[in-house]
Amino acid sequence: MNEIVSKEQIAPDTWRLVVRAPEIARRRKAGQFVVLRVHEKGERFPLTLVSSDPDAGTIELIFQAVGTSTKLLAALQPGEDILDLVGPLGRPTHIEHFGRCVVIGGGYGMAPVIPIAQALHDAGNELVGINGARSADHVILVDRMGAICQRVEVCTDDGSLGRQGFVTAVLQEMIEADERIDFVLAIGPTPMMRGVAELTRPNGINTVVSLNPIMVDGTGMCGGCRVEVAGETKFACVDGPEFDAHEVDFDMLMRRQRMYDGLESDATRMFKPHSTPLDAPAHEGCCCEEDRPDGK
């Protein structure tokens, strides 16, 4: 069960797995996720389903190995099994013919953008991609965006690839240039998603974000993933994970994402001495893109 078919490193600490999971592959729709557990004492954590191949019975996962569980996942080799894998969970993305869509991925948030962008493309939408990352070696999935977008704007914080600056600067230019934008999808670090929401709010541009709060069961039974949307409490696992960006309480989301910061399990400490990259503090209380396994 859940055998890893192939494994590939696509950026620093960033891995792509193809996993045999025929039942999940058969039913997966854009925007859905799986919950995994990788060892007997491990936690349950969600990862977005990037793609699936129903004929081959496989699913594709892309994640950044920064937390304990994702590091253990990245340590698995082809031929080995993932202990527990359940899905597809969450509401599929609402896809329609919007017209011209801007799809934005911040850092490893590019991975969960891919399946939704593909579905938007398949529904006949015209896509512009904005692909932002810290530096050139952290830019991922440009080719796959290029295959479905009319154009892809790449930007990096340090200017080592594409333009220098944040994804929000690129979007702002597009809005100021009066480019037609009927729909915006933004997935990445929470401050980035909030930044996009603030940019599109004045013009009332339909904007959707995909949230990744802490989850346990992923099926609505615990309420740990609750978020406030339009003043109402929602469970991201069953009511989302996608919501209207203009109605999300991002401050609360960020606070709740940090609820267990500073707590280190034995498995976390096992990874500490040698393999935590200097620039990727996994449990240090920052809310940058390294906090969440798939960059959301």
Partner: protein, 472 residues
């Protein structure tokens, strides 16, 4: 049959002292010795028309098994119970006997009823401890296949009966381990996991297949399962937490009882950092609600090291839905009960952590639709209780995944699945029972519903009565 000593008092259950047991998650009651069990069993009058059986949702053959204990034939007693209830070690621990078999025991009219639950537990524990659990005989296969959705008490009871009657049964469970609320909800100190695992092992000896990590409604729909199975039993429970709907409920440190208990019971947060899943439990814990789940959460918080655990309930002690034993155990463990009190707001500190529960006093007014007097707020009575952790245990809602993904399944206004007297739903071949039909109830009521559905499924597939009759 020997003569009975009618005047003998009910044998008390030996328990570990409170100050010892709050330091671990080991079981609280120690269990009867053989001598105590025989003495208690000899109190039974062996009524010709046993009222105790009438009070049992699964019609356990109570006088017969009690008599076997009185004769010292303990493992035979366990097997007698298993003719109608595959899980005596669970039921002997978690059933609310005081409102069921022991309520209707004739001894209870003048004194204390026979301790049927403790005897049930004793027989099952004896059989297991002495390695005398027999692999049940495998009947001739009927060729029928049944899918059971949910591995909680209702699903397990249904699966056990159907397997005993020769059907091929697969149980689907969304978590990575089976048992439903028996695993994620009920703490170890009430139901040790060795007991639960042994009962599940018995189920697999019956030939039942359990598929974990399978979310019906997501991994496959009911319609897809009907292509593989001749009938489906939906026992998905009422697993969705209710919240209070008051300001501040999404502050840090505020948990649903479901999340708090799942983190500890299923994910072993009590053994963090050995296990990866953490839980926050401060010194001042407020538990809102007064059912068994609230008692479980409060007692779990004490075991996680909380100094002050306060149960806040808007009615009075008399209306508490929890089992009497759970309330007593909680109070022995220094859980405080505040009655006629309702939180109206939670306030946090600058970092977003809950620190204060603003509570309002209540008084009892006219009876409501449940017959209980309705709590009415006392205006101007607000005051503040300090807190670090708040656990909301005010009930649960129907799990919506199966109804939402099964278009021709009739549901009630609140999302519970509608069934007829036989347990059949509006959809041919699909039966339902337990909390997904009734709303939150007890383990044994769900088991009773599972057994009734098993009978209906057997009749609908074979046109015959089940081999053991209704077990009465």
């Amino acid at each position: 049959m020997g003569s009975r000593v009618m005047t003998q008092q009910r044998q008390p259950m030996p328990e570990r002292p409170a100050d010892e047991r709050v330091r671990d998650f080991d079981e609280v009651p120690i269990g009867y010795t053989a001598e105590m069990a025989v003495a208690e069993a000899q109190r039974c009058l062996q009524c010709k028309r046993p009222m105790c059986v009438e009070g049992c949702p699964v019609k356990v053959k109570i006088p017969q098994f009690v008599e076997l204990i009185a004769q010292g034939r303990f493992s035979e007693a366990a097997r007698k119970i298993k003719q109608t209830n595959a899980f005596p070690a669970i039921c002997g621990r978690v059933c609310p006997q005081e409102g069921q078999c022991e309520l209707t025991c004739v001894l209870g009219r003048r004194g204390e009823p026979v301790a049927i639950g403790r005897l049930e537990r004793f027989a099952a524990d004896w059989e297991r401890a002495h390695d005398e659990v027999e692999a049940p005989a495998h009947p001739a296969p009927t060729g029928h296949s049944i899918g059971v959705v949910g591995s909680g008490p209702g699903g397990l009871a249904c699966a056990a009966d159907l397997a005993m009657w020769g059907h091929d049964v697969t149980v689907y469970e969304l978590f990575h381990a089976p048992g439903g609320v028996l695993r994620y909800g009920i703490p170890r100190f009430r139901l040790p996991r060795a007991v639960l695992n042994a009962e599940l092992d018995y189920l697999s000896k019956l030939g039942v297949t359990i598929r974990t990590n399978f979310v019906v409604g997501r991994t496959a729909t009911i319609d897809e399962l009907l292509q593989e199975h001749d009938a489906i039993f939906v026992a998905t429970g009422a697993g969705l937490p209710r919240f209070l709907g008051i300001p501040g409920e999404n502050l840090l440190g505020v948990y649903s009882a479901n999340e708090f208990l799942t983190r500890v019971n299923l994910m072993r947060a009590d053994r963090f950092p050995e296990y990866d899943t953490p839980v926050h439990c401060g010194d001042n814990v407020i538990v809102v609600g007064a059912g068994n789940v609230a008692m479980d959460a409060a007692r779990t918080a004490r075991r996680l090291g909380a100094e002050n655990v306060t149960v806040v309930y808007r009615r009075t002690r008399g209306e508490m839905p929890a089992r009497v034993e759970e309330i007593e155990h909680a109070e022995q463990e220094d859980v405080r009960m505040h009655f006629l009190l309702s939180p109206i707001e939670l306030r946090g500190d600058d970092d977003g952590w809950a620190r204060v529960a603003v509570c309002r006093r209540m008084e009892l007014g006219e009876p409501d639709e449940t017959g209980r007097r309705r709590p009415v707020p006392v205006e101007g009575s607000e005051f503040e209780l300090p807190c670090d952790t708040v656990i909301v245990a005010v009930g649960s809602r129907a799990h919506p995944l199966v109804p939402d993904t099964t278009p021709d399944l009739d549901v009630s206004r609140r999302g519970y699945v509608a069934i007829d007297d036989s347990g059949a739903t509006s959809k041919p071949g699909v039966f339902a029972g337990g909390d997904i039909v009734t709303g939150s109830a007890t383990v044994i009521e769900a088991m009773g519903a599972g057994r009734r559905a098993a009978e209906s499924i057997h009749r609908s597939l074979t046109g015959q009565e089940p081999p053991n009759g209704n077990g009465g």
